[in-house]
C-alpha cells in the first residue's frame, strides 16, 4: 500500500513538473520568529505563503526548539488560535490561557486581537509544512507515519535535504522506508543528474506495475530522458521491473489459485468422504458450510459480550464449537434420514435437497436474510507484498493454512486411527467390512458427522472472505461435486489435487474471460476428463 502511494506520487510528480521551478529557487533563509509572525499577521494575508516558505526552508537546519516553535505556530495558525495584536505582537490562545507567540512565555493578551484566516490557497502549503515539522518533532511514530503519508500527497517543493535530515533522525523502520520512498520520488525530478539516476535505480529496486508505469511515462517524455545516461538507466530498470512484475503476476495468480483451491478443498472434502463411503451425494453440504459460518458468527457475538478483550481470537475458539455443532447436525441427518435410504442414492439426493431447503429456511427465519457482519481479526487483515504486485494477504493465507491443517488432520485420521481404517475398509468393500464385524452403520454415522464437521470448518474459514447469508451454500455444491468427480471417489489426495486444479483453472481464466467462462471451462474439463478416466484422476485401483 505504501509503495503504491509512493509510486503514484512519483507519477503525479511528472504532471507537476512545470509547477516545480519555484521550489528550488527559494533561498534558504534562517527562521526569524518575529519576521515570520509579522508576515502571518500582515493584513490581507499576501505574505502568509512567504512566511510558511520561510519556516519550511528553515526547518532543514533549525534547532529542535525552533522546529517545536514552528510546529506550534503552524498549528495555531491552522486552528485560528493565533491572535495578532495591532502592535505587531502575537499570541497563541488555548484552554490554559494565552502565550506570547514569539517567546512562548505566558503573557496577558490584550483585547481586540485579530485571528488571521488561512486562505484556501495556503491550505496545501500549510498541510505540507505541518507534516514536514511533524516528521521532526512528533514523539508518536503513528503521527510521523501519518506525516509521511501526507507528504506522499503533498511532496512537491520540499526543500532539498529536509527528507534526508528527517531520515537520519528516524528510528522507526516503516517510517524510514516511507521517507526513502519520498526521497526517491523527489530525486526523480532532481536537476542533479547523478541524483536522478540514483533515484531511478532506487525506484527500480522495488518494481511494481506502478513503477513500470512511472518509468515508462518518464521514458516517453523526451525532455526528461534527454540528459546522457538517463534514457539508458530508464531502459535498464524498465526491462527489469517488467520482468519482476510479470513474475509477481504469475505468483499472484498461483497464490489466488491455491487459495481458491483451498476453499474448494475445505468445502468438498467432507462431500468426498461421504460419497466415497456411502455413494451418497449430500446436497445439503453447502448448507452445512453455511451453518458453520453462522456458528462462527454466534461464537463471535458471544465473545463480544463475554470477553470483548479476547474478541480477536474468536476464530480459534470457534473451531471446536463449529466442528461439534455441524457434526451434530450431520449425525442427526444421517440418523433421521440418510440411513433409511441405503442403496437408494437418487432418493438420498432428493432427501438431502429437502434438508438443505429446510436448513436454509430455518436460518432465514432465525437470523434474517441479510449478510452477517464479521469482524476480521487484526492478524488476518492486510498482507505483505513480496515480488512485483504480488501481495500475500493474510486472510487468504489463513484459508490456505486452514485447508492444509484440515488435510493433515483428515489424512492422519484416515491413516492412523482405527476409525479411519474402518472408514477406508467400508469405502472399499462394504459387504466384506460388514462380514468381518465392522458396524457399517456406526461407521456411516461417524463419517457423516466428520464430513459435516469439516464442512462447518469450511464455513468458518470462509467467513472472513465470503458473504455469509442463508443462501450462501447453494453456490458450493456444484463446484464441490466437480472436485469429487475429478478427484476420484474415496481419494483424499485426488480431492486435494482436483481442488487445486479447479481453483487454478477458475482463477487463471476469470481475469481474462470472466467468471462464467471459468465455470464453463471447468465443466467442460470435467466432462472431457470423465471421457478418459471415468473413475477420476486418482482412482482406487482394483477390479470393479
Amino acid at each position: 500500500m505504501r509503495s503504491f502511494v509512493r509510486t503514484w506520487l512519483a507519477g503525479g510528480l511528472v504532471i507537476l513538473l512545470l509547477l516545480q521551478g519555484r521550489a528550488f529557487a527559494a533561498p534558504a533563509a534562517s527562521m526569524s520568529r518575529t519576521d515570520v509572525l509579522a508576515k502571518l499577521c500582515a493584513a490581507g494575508g499576501q505574505d502568509v505563503p512567504s512566511a510558511l516558505r520561510q519556516m519550511l526552508d528553515g526547518a532543514v537546519d533549525a534547532s529542535a526548539a525552533d522546529r517545536d516553535w514552528a510546529k506550534r505556530v503552524v498549528q495555531g495558525f491552522s486552528t485560528r488560535s493565533l491572535r495578532c495584536a495591532d502592535d505587531g505582537s502575537a499570541f497563541l490562545t488555548g484552554p490554559g490561557g494565552a502565550v506570547n507567540a514569539a517567546t512562548l512565555a505566558p503573557g496577558a493578551s490584550p483585547d481586540g486581537l485579530r485571528a488571521p484566516l488561512p486562505s484556501l490557497r495556503t491550505r496545501a502549503l500549510l498541510e505540507q509544512l505541518d507534516a514536514a515539522l511533524t516528521l521532526f518533532v512528533a514523539p508518536a511514530a503513528a503521527d510521523r507515519l501519518a506525516a509521511v503519508h501526507t507528504l506522499e500527497r503533498r511532496g512537491d517543493g520540499l526543500p532539498p535535504g529536509l527528507l534526508r535530515h528527517a531520515l537520519d533522525a528516524e528510528h522507526d523502520a516503516q517510517i524510514a522506508a516511507g521517507l526513502r520512498g519520498l526521497i526517491v520520488a523527489a530525486g526523480l525530478h532532481s536537476p542533479d543528474i547523478p541524483e536522478r539516476l540514483a533515484a531511478i535505480h532506487a525506484l527500480g529496486r522495488d518494481p511494481t506495475s506502478q513503477v513500470v508505469t512511472t518509468l515508462a511515462t518518464l521514458r516517453a517524455d523526451p525532455g526528461y530522458a534527454e540528459p546522457p545516461g538517463v534514457a539508458a538507466a530508464l531502459d535498464q530498470e524498465l526491462t527489469q521491473a517488467r520482468w519482476w512484475v510479470r513474475i509477481g503476476d504469475g505468483l499472484s495468480l498461483a497464490y489466488n489459485g491455491v487459495s481458491a483451491g483451498s476453499v474448494l478443498f475445505l468445502s468438498s472434502v467432507g462431500l468426498a468422504i461421504i460419497f466415497g463411503l456411502m455413494g451418497v451425494i449430500n446436497l445439503a453440504q453447502g448448507e452445512l458450510i453455511m451453518i458453520g459460518a453462522y456458528a462462527t458468527f454466534c461464537v463471535q457475538q458471544a465473545m463480544r459480550s463475554v470477553a470483548p478483550s479476547m474478541l480477536d481470537w474468536y476464530p480459534l475458539v470457534a473451531i471446536p464449537v463449529v466442528f461439534v455443532v455441524t457434526a451434530l447436525v450431520g449425525v442427526a441427518m444421517e440418523l433421521l434420514v440418510i440411513r433409511h435410504l441405503y442403496r437408494r442414492p437418487l432418493m438420498t439426493l432428493l432427501a438431502t435437497w429437502a434438508i438443505s431447503l429446510l436448513l436454509v429456511n430455518l436460518v432465514r427465519v432465525g437470523f434474517g436474510t441479510q449478510n452477517l457482519e464479521f469482524q476480521t481479526p487484526s492478524y488476518l487483515t492486510g498482507g505483505v507484498r513480496l515480488v512485483g504486485d504480488f501481495l500475500v494477504t493474510w486472510n487468504h493465507m489463513g484459508a490456505i493454512a486452514f485447508a492444509l491443517a484440515a488435510f493433515a488432520v483428515t489424512l492422519a485420521l484416515l491413516r492412523l486411527t482405527d476409525i479411519g481404517l474402518f472408514i477406508r475398509t467400508v469405502t472399499q468393500n462394504r459387504a466384506m467390512a460388514g462380514c468381518v464385524g465392522i458396524s457399517t452403520r456406526r461407521i456411516d454415522m461417524a463419517a457423516f458427522g466428520f464430513g459435516a464437521g469439516l464442512a462447518g470448518l469450511a464455513g468458518l474459514a470462509l467467513s472472513p472472505i465470503y458473504n455469509v447469508n442463508p443462501t450462501m451454500g447453494t453456490g458450493f455444491i456444484i463446484d464441490s461435486f466437480m472436485v469429487v468427480v475429478l478427484g476420484g471417489v474415496g481419494s483424499l489426495f485426488g480431492t486435494a489435487v482436483a481442488s487445486l486444479g479447479i481453483g487454478l483453472v477458475n482463477v487463471g481464466i476469470e481475469p481474462f474471460y470472466g467468471a462464467v467462462a471459468a465455470k464453463v471451462v471447468a465443466l467442460l474439463l470435467v466432462i472431457l476428463l470423465i471421457q478418459r478416466r471415468p473413475e477420476g484422476l486418482i482412482a482406487l485401483k482394483g477390479r470393479r
Binding site: 451418497v280 446436497l283 432418493m347 439426493l349 432428493l350 432427501a351 429437502a354 429446510l358 468427480v485 462464467v516
Partner: protein, 358 residues
C-alpha cells in the same frame, strides 16, 4: 409391465379429457387466473413427465431438465418477439441495447410458426444428444449423471445471465404482443395455451405409456435393472438411452414453449438448478414410472404451492421439504405407493385367505 391403460392411467386420462373439454367449451367464461393456473400446471406436468420418462423407466435421473424447458421457452419467446416487432416495429430493449440496430439476422427464421414449432422439438433434443452422447458413451450414470446435468444447467444459467450472450441477460425476454393472433395476456390466449398444454399432456401420457409398454420400454426397464447384462446380449445401450433422453428433452422443450407465452416472460431463473431439482421432487412425490405419478405429483405440488403462495408464502419451503422427506422415507415410490400400501394394510387385517403372492 402393466398395460397402457390400467385403472390409474384411465382415471387420469379421463380427468384430463374432461378438463380439456371444459376448457374448450367453457374456458371463455372461466376466471382468467383459473385458466392460467390450469395452463401453467399442465406445463409443469409435461416437464415432470419428461423427467419420469427417463427416471421411471431407465432409472436415469436428470436434475437438469430446466435446460431443455428453457430452450423451448427461449425459442417460443424469440418467435413472439419477432411477431411483436412485425406488428409494432418497436425493438425490444435488450436488442436496442446490443446496438446492432436490429435483430440478429438468424432470428428471421423464427418468423415462421412452423419453423419455431420444429425448433422447439429439435433444438432441445440436439442439445440433449450432444450432452447425452458424451456422458452415456463414457458410461456416466447414477448420481454422477444427475449432478452433471445439474452442473450443466447451472452453467447455462450463468451464461444466460450475461447480457452479451444475446438473449436479454438478466431481464430476459418479455413484451409479447400477440399469441397466434390473440392479444397476449388476454383470456382467449390463455384458454388456447391451457388447452394446448392439456392436449400435450394427454398426447404425452398416452404416447408415453404406449412407448413404455413396447419393446423399447422393456429395453429401458432392462437398462435400469442390469445395463451390463443388456450390453452382453448385444444391445448398444448408448443409443437406447440417447433416444429416450432426446425424446424426454423434446417433451421438456414443448412444455417450456407453452409455459413462456402464459407467463409473458422468460429469464434465466428457469435455469436455476433448484427448479430442475424440484421437478424430480414432483416425480418422486407422485411416484416414478408409468407417467401417472408424474402427473399426480406435479399437479398436487404446484396447486399446493399456488394456494400457499397466497395464504402462507413463508411456510411453503417448510411444507415442501417436509413433504419430500415424508414421501421419500415412508412411501418409497411416491403417492402411487399409497394404493399398494393401503392394499397391503387391508390384507394384513384380513385373514390370510387367498392372499395372492406378489
Amino acid at each position: 409391465m402393466s398395460s397402457v391403460f390400467d385403472r390409474t392411467a384411465s382415471a387420469i386420462t379421463g380427468l384430463l379429457l374432461v378438463m380439456l373439454i371444459a376448457l374448450l367449451l367453457l374456458g371463455h367464461g372461466m376466471p382468467v387466473y383459473l385458466v392460467n393456473l390450469a395452463g401453467q400446471v399442465m406445463c409443469f406436468v409435461l416437464l415432470a413427465m419428461a423427467v419420469d420418462l427417463m427416471w421411471g423407466s431407465a432409472g436415469i435421473l436428470s436434475l437438469g431438465h430446466g435446460l431443455f424447458f428453457a430452450i423451448g421457452g427461449y425459442i417460443a419467446a424469440m418467435h413472439l418477439l419477432r411477431t411483436a416487432f412485425a406488428a409494432t416495429h418497436v425493438l425490444p430493449d435488450f436488442i436496442q441495447f446490443m446496438g446492432n440496430g436490429g435483430f440478429p439476422g438468424w432470428w428471421a427464421l423464427f418468423d415462421s410458426s412452423l419453423f419455431t414449432a420444429l425448433a422447439v422439438l429439435v433444438v432441445p433434443a440436439l442439445a440433449a444428444f450432444v450432452f447425452g452422447y458424451v456422458s452415456f458413451r463414457s458410461r456416466v450414470n447414477g448420481v454422477y449423471f444427475s449432478i452433471i446435468t445439474q452442473a450443466l444447467t447451472y452453467t447455462a444459467m450463468l451464461l444466460m445471465f450475461r447480457n452479451d450472450t444475446g438473449f436479454g441477460g438478466n431481464n430476459g425476454m418479455t413484451g409479447f404482443h400477440a399469441i397466434a393472433g390473440l392479444p397476449a395476456g388476454g383470456g382467449d390466449a390463455g384458454v388456447l395455451l391451457a388447452s394446448l398444454a392439456t392436449a400435450a399432456v394427454l398426447v404425452c401420457l398416452i404416447g408415453g405409456r404406449t412407448l413404455l409398454a413396447s419393446r423399447f420400454g422393456r429395453l429401458l426397464a432392462a437398462i435400469r435393472d442390469d445395463e451390463p447384462r443388456l450390453r452382453f446380449l448385444g444391445y448398444n445401450t448408448l443409443w437406447l438411452k440417447l433416444v429416450a433422453w432426446c425424446l424426454s428433452a423434446s417433451v421438456a422443450g414443448v412444455a417450456g414453449a407453452l409455459y413462456v407465452p402464459q407467463v409473458g416472460i422468460i429469464n434465466p431463473s428457469l435455469l436455476d438448478p433448484a427448479l430442475s431439482l424440484e421437478v424430480a421432487v414432483w416425480v418422486a412425490v407422485g411416484g416414478r414410472g408409468g407417467l401417472c405419478g408424474a402427473v399426480l405429483g406435479a399437479t398436487l405440488i404446484n396447486l399446493l404451492r399456488s394456494w400457499m403462495a397466497a395464504s402462507a408464502p413463508l411456510l411453503w419451503p417448510f411444507v415442501l421439504s417436509l413433504l419430500v422427506l415424508l414421501v421419500v422415507l415412508a412411501l418409497p415410490n411416491g403417492l402411487l405407493d399409497m394404493r399398494n400400501r393401503s392394499r397391503g394394510w387391508m390384507h394384513s387385517l384380513l385373514p390370510a385367505v387367498g392372499r395372492p403372492r406378489p
